[in-house]
């Protein structure tokens, strides 16, 4: 599998993408955190710029030593550059803060997603059909025991009363949110995507699974051999943090009654 991915990248690398032009007053802001992703960044930016006629592409380059920021600048993207690594998803938060568009689209720099797979998400938000438009890709779920991150995504939606979303999550890219959703959630919370999702659901924002984009091949690369995946523990912790927030706001049962239980009878 990784071989196929490499081949695809090489082909793209052989055909240098033309620089883009960021809109001055964009409708759509595409936010791309990047850490040492020079290999694919140009192609990612090129596709991102095509999601809407009026688009700005913001690359949040952090902890990169391979010239990611320079490559992104050469492509015409707006680049926010940090020498140190910011940590997982912090780039999203910073990018969102700087975004000028009415629609914010989040994607990653290590996977080239064709513009036609990004457009439905942008359109769902731009047309007012959703405040948050999610990728409906769930990962491998046709098995007895699933990855902890998949399990956590499903559990969070269930606890938020949205079992119908299954495992659709702001942890997964690509997804789009409205500017209003950004302000309701708070830019700082976007750095912990499950927390952002819990807040969005609690505030009654319209959260919908919109379009299926297969991003699994990218995840597979992270799991080398049988060693424990550190991202797995980080993201599961993010979900716990989201549940902790939920309990804080709506009580330990998440607003679910158990008045039928005569607890006082047993002490």
């Amino acid at each position: 599998m990784p071989k196929r991915r490499g081949a695809k990248l090489r082909k793209r690398a052989g055909k240098p993408s033309r620089p883009i032009r960021n809109a001055e007053f964009p409708e759509v802001s595409v936010i791309i955190p990047a850490m040492n992703e020079r290999r694919a960044i140009a192609a990612v930016i090129a596709e991102a710029a095509r999601v809407h006629p009026s688009t700005e592409v913001i690359v949040v380059a952090n902890g990169s030593t391979d010239g990611t920021a320079q490559a992104a600048r050469r492509m015409g993207a707006r680049v926010l550059s940090y020498d140190e690594a910011l940590g997982h998803d912090v780039g999203r938060s910073i990018g969102a803060r700087e975004a000028k568009g009415r629609v914010l689209l989040f994607t990653d720099a290590d996977i080239v997603i064709p513009a036609r797979d990004l457009q439905p998400l942008v359109h769902a938000v731009a047309s007012g059909g959703a405040d948050i438009a999610l990728n409906t890709y769930l990962g491998p779920v046709a098995k007895a025991q699933v990855h902890s991150v998949i399990l956590a995504k499903h559990a969070l939606n269930i606890f938020a009363g949205r079992a119908d979303l299954k495992g659709a999550s702001m942890t997964t890219i690509p997804h789009a949110i409205s500017r209003g959703a950004r302000d309701a959630i708070g830019c700082d919370h976007l750095a912990v995507p499950p927390l952002a999702q819990a807040i969005a659901l609690q505030q009654g924002l319209v959260v919908r699974g919109i379009h299926y984009v297969e991003v699994g091949r990218r995840n597979r690369r992270r799991r080398r051999g049988k060693t424990k995946d550190p991202l797995e523990r980080l993201i599961v912790g993010d979900h716990l943090e989201a549940l902790d927030w939920t309990i804080d706001r709506v009580g330990p049962r998440g607003g679910r009654a158990d008045a039928s239980r005569s607890r006082e009878l047993v002490r």
Binding site: R97, V141, A144, D244, G254, S260, L265
Partner: protein
């Protein structure tokens, strides 16, 4: 489609509980795929060393126990006194025997009782012995269960239980009359419904046995299938859960309750327990565990489970009974947004609240690398 599948699973559940695994399977750890687990369940029982010898010893022990009965005990129908004496003989024999698989255990038990019948001349009937000298009791919760409660109790009556507690609540049918006429159980009877699982907590408070089995009045469980729960608890496990993982299918087909059960186990560092939970019956608990958790918490089973984990109690899913195929469907417990499912999902969040309070908002899943200060404008 679903119906047909459950019928097949039901048949599988009657097969031996413990099956020998090949050395290659052992090295690979517990099978993670359904097909793999079913294959394990299907594989033939072990050919155990000295099986025939074990059976002979059991038979001899039975003859001896039967011969030891005297006078009044030898009336035509064997009474509780006889049963306790034969049970004592069996548990003593089991304590001295080598460990054995469940199929062999059942054969040995049959040989033991045959020996008893032969030397005493008594009709032993369908008694099931327990391989422990500890006191084993049962708590059964009942709410309008007249169709099934008789069968539930009949199976329990085959066991040498030291106590039977039946909590009848909110019943407007003949449940009470059936329990009263069929058993000499301790009955707690309330006209108002106590609410989901509160009866268990009440029963647990009253129980005095070393090991308590918990059952629902609507799901009859064969006495033989309860033995592994009692034995595992008697051997020191604080909580013995029903392993229902063979009956739930692939992740994507599961309901919300099953998913949150697995999530709670996983974040508590007990992913090995899979989807298994105190929410499901039957299960067994040691009396010390009930005291440690605090019996009122048993009214919210997932919370009791998390508290048990936080207290470091020993929890195992050591026995397997298919309670899914036989579960009565009611208006309350079917469909996506049914009230019972919502209640149980709430129970799991309440359980997580305990863990989050005890271990912090990310529990054992820290976030050491994010520069969160950078997110503040």
């Amino acid at each position: 489609m679903r119906r047909r599948r459950t019928a097949r699973r039901r048949a599988a559940s009657r097969r031996p509980i413990r099956a020998r695994r090949s050395s290659r399977q052992k090295r690979a750890g517990p099978s993670r795929t359904l097909r793999g687990r079913r294959r394990l369940r299907r594989s033939a029982p072990a050919r155990e060393p000295n099986a025939a010898h074990q059976l002979q010893l059991a038979y001899a022990a039975g003859r001896q126990a039967g011969a030891a009965l005297t006078g009044d005990q030898l009336r035509h129908t064997p009474d509780e006194d006889v049963r306790q004496q034969l049970h004592a003989g069996w548990s003593a024999w089991y304590a001295s025997a080598r460990t054995m698989s469940w199929p062999l255990y059942r054969q040995a038990e049959a040989r033991y009782l045959a020996g008893c019948a032969e030397t005493s001349g008594l009709p032993i009937g369908d008694w099931v012995m327990l391989p422990t000298e500890q006191r084993v009791g049962a708590v059964v919760t009942v709410m309008n269960e007249q169709e099934t409660i008789g069968g539930v109790l009949a199976e329990l009556q085959r066991l040498p239980l030291t106590e039977l507690i039946v909590v009848i609540n909110g019943s407007r049918d003949a449940s009470y009359d059936i329990v009263r006429s069929q058993t000499d159980a301790t009955i707690v009877h309330t006209h108002a419904p106590l609410g989901h699982d509160v009866g268990r907590a009440l029963g647990a408070k009253l129980a005095r046995a070393d090991v308590v089995l918990f059952l629902d009045g609507d799901i009859p469980v064969k006495a033989e299938e309860l033995v592994p729960f009692a034995l595992t608890a008697a051997q020191g496990s604080d909580i013995v859960l029903n392993d229902i993982s063979p009956y739930v299918g692939r992740f994507e087909d599961r309901d919300a309750v099953t998913m949150v059960k697995e999530f709670v186990n996983r974040v508590m560092g007990r992913g090995d327990l899979g989807i298994n939970s105190l929410t499901a019956v039957p299960h067994a608990m040691r009396s010390e565990a009930i005291a440690r958790i605090g019996h009122p918490h048993l009214a919210v089973p997932p919370k009791a489970q998390v508290l048990a984990m936080l207290h470091g109690l020993v929890i195992r899913a050591a026995a397997s009974v298919d309670v899914i195929a036989g579960n009565r469907t009611r208006a309350m417990n079917t469909g996506q947004h049914n009230p019972v499912a919502e209640l149980i999902v709430g129970d799991h969040l309440e359980a997580l609240h305990e863990a989050l309070t005890a271990q912090g908002k990310r529990m054992a899943f820290p976030d050491p690398y994010r520069r969160r200060v950078m997110t503040m404008a």
